[in-house]
């Protein structure tokens, strides 16, 4: 997998860590992994699966 670097615009390789492709340092010297940590994380809605119904 490759991703575009937001600093230099070139494609840079990603690295596989624990089953997930993650950003690493680009050839231009910018740490894209640090960039990923600097922006807000998308938190998916986590519904409650606990029943609100009161069982007899």
């Amino acid at each position: 997998m490759q991703e575009s670097c937001p600093y230099c615009g070139k494609m840079t390789d990603m690295e596989l860590k624990e089953g997930v492709w993650k950003s690493k340092t680009c050839d231009c010297g910018k740490d894209l992994a640090a960039l990923a940590k600097s922006v807000p994380e998308l938190v998916d809605a986590k519904p409650s699966y606990k029943s609100k119904e009161v069982l007899p």
Partner: protein, 139 residues
């Protein structure tokens, strides 16, 4: 096709979009393999709308376009899109949606997020997931 020689894989990719900057992620079939694309999921983790496009190219250099798999303008913040069974119900362009795509060495899927204007950016640990079958081939 001998099913024992094929493996199902999910390429899970951490996605980061930053302020007013386009993003491109490439999935390229390595030498010595062939793959069948089953589907993908892509997310917009930013807090502004983003145009999203998925294209299939013959090579990583993206010279020869084989197909446009998906294109949609202004995907809302934190929304996701899936292929081939999209959860989106609006009337948007969804070109060339065969049940599967055969891909040989070098074939490249290009996932693009257009620049979305001023934003805080965002990251999603599984912002892009590509699901495919893969097998080794004789060179």
């Amino acid at each position: 096709m001998d099913p024992s020689k094929w493996k199902v894989k999910h390429d899970i990719t951490s996605l980061t979009l930053v302020n007013a900057t386009a993003k491109n992620i490439l999935h390229t079939v390595p030498v010595g393999e062939q793959q069948i694309l089953i589907g993908w999921k892509m997310t917009n983790p930013d807090d502004v709308t983003r145009n999203m496009t998925v294209q299939l190219f013959k090579e990583a250099a993206k010279t020869n376009l084989l197909k446009v798999l998906f294109t949609e303008a202004n995907v809302a913040a934190s929304q996701r899109r899936q292929w081939p069974q999209g959860e989106n119900t609006s009337s948007v362009a969804k070109d060339a949606r065969p049940p599967s795509m055969w891909m040989t060495a070098g074939t490249t899927i290009s996932f693009d997020w257009d620049s979305g204007g001023a934003s805080t950016g965002g990251t999603d640990a599984d912002g892009l997931v590509v699901e495919y079958l893969t097998t080794k081939v004789r060179s």
